[in-house]
Subunit: 296 residues, 2 copies
């Protein structure tokens, strides 16, 4: 299990916005540093929670650049680089590598639905081979309720067989415990990271590599505590308490407006209004909704 890559608690970082819906660099770098200080092993920026697909390619690249320039170790950053066009996925991934960021979370091309595993294998192959960089580590991304394009076990098998050093893990945001367990059992040495905060604790004894979650924007220290101490009987009560807080934070925010709720709570904690904004088609909470959430 020590060979799993990546491993640990990663925050699917939310992105604060300027008034014209561009990433707010200053607030984002501060948030990233705070997450790492709270115990995150790394930050998975520019993902679904981070609204990456609402940004232009130039905005995505700039955000990664300022985060590295701001002093966050590239080894702790795991950006999303998978978009609908494979030529742009290649562009974003090469850019990350150029900054020393070697591990990326890669959505499959997500415009067409009902595509075959042959087609998805061809897409990932084209990306990996045209990049042609031995440093690259790819975490494929299974979030069928958003992308509309599931990652099947058959596809994982084929990618691992062809690119064993490159395709090293999966982020599973399906929320389906059985799917995580089935992948852990079928693919030894493959890093399964859950996208569902409450599943980290039950999956740790089964060999999960870690998590990449939205709620860790709010409770990174608790998730990190669960991850580091779940197997230590002397910390059983503290682990249970941390897990309870994680579940509470998750339940308080989960639902169709999860990102808006998370960003509202960060705004309330930091006093920074840039956290209240979301890029359309996502919408900020109304003032009443913000107030109700704060009282939770």
């Amino acid at each position: 299990m020590t060979s799993l890559h990546p491993r640990g608690v990663f925050c699917a970082a939310a992105t604060p916005l300027t008034a014209d819906y561009a990433p707010d660099h200053t607030l984002f770098v501060a948030h990233t540093k705070r997450l790492i200080a709270q115990g995150c092993d790394g930050v998975a920026l520019l993902g679904t929670t981070g609204e990456a697909n609402s940004f232009s390619l130039a905005q995505r690249k700039s955000l990664l650049e300022v985060t590295v320039e701001g002093g966050v170790s590239p080894e702790k950053l795991m950006p999303g680089t998978g978009v609908a066009a494979i030529s742009e996925t290649i562009d974003l991934t090469k850019h990350a590598l150029s900054l020393g960021v070697n591990t990326v979370v890669m959505l499959p091309p997500f415009y067409y639905k009902g595509v075959t595993d042959d087609g998805l294998f061809a897409a990932y192959s084209e990306v990996i081979e045209r990049i042609g960089d031995a440093r690259l580590r790819v975490v494929v991304y299974h979030i069928p309720q958003v992308s509309g394009v599931p990652i099947s076990h058959n596809l994982i098998e084929r990618l691992r067989t062809r690119y064993p050093e490159t395709v090293t893990g999966i982020k599973d945001s399906s929320g389906d415990l059985a799917n995580h367990v089935a992948m852990i059992e079928r693919f030894p040495g493959f890093a399964v990271l859950t996208g569902a905060d409450p599943l980290l604790l039950p999956l740790l004894p089964k060999g999960v590599a870690g998590c990449i979650t939205a709620t860790s924007n709010l409770c990174a220290a608790d998730l990190a505590f669960v991850y580091r101490h779940y197997a230590d009987p002397s910390h059983a009560d503290e682990v249970a308490a941390a897990q309870a807080r994680v579940v509470t934070e998750r339940e308080r925010t989960v639902g169709p407006r999860q990102m808006a709720a998370i960003k509202t709570l960060i705004a309330q904690a930091t006093g920074e209004d840039g956290w209240l904004r979301l890029c359309p088609p996502l919408m900020a909470l109304t003032t009443d909704q913000q107030r109700a959430l704060g009282g939770g």
Copy 2:
């Protein structure tokens, strides 16, 4: 009805590819000219059938540029410009306007699913207002089985009320006859264009503005004949025969590999192998499949 814009038969043009999955400019311009010569009122390039979301922004812009430079009137071109990031939708739409191409087909931002009409209205508003060009005409695009983001009648109502000169039509690729009829009845003066070839004829007496279809890559002349002569009793037999050919071509190609089948038939008709390629995750037909199709 004369005020409907756009009106007529538009081909949702397929895109021939080079070996590295970039648009083949020469073959595409020739195809566009052929479609117009066959009777298309215009060409809706860079849409779902055209694999636009598999291309980079630069590739999309180049393809539109070479088509205009190649001598196709900008008034006959209706590119897809809606992508997941509204800043890029703005970029692509401004670029089209800069070439004299005023009418675009605009997908809603399609990464997030289950978004609200408030969110979609905000997204389209942001695009239209930041472009701020009175020449712009937007055809919104309802293709929920691919985009995952339907365009509701409520959203159309709001967009038409706020932007009556700009949001002038919808492409309905749902294949749902009742949805077309309901929109035609509810929104007088709004151009409803069907994405389903066989529906053009039954919808013409009801006031449909026209069609934007994939099969017209293969049978543009027949669709154009149906469109121009459906109400003329002296052409009833020829209209019926043209419609029968449209339905046959559609049935021969429709299904999960529709785009591959259409491109294969263009390759067989033109002898140009660039038409056989599709960009992953879409896949070309196998040689056996190509042969079986040709014999159909």
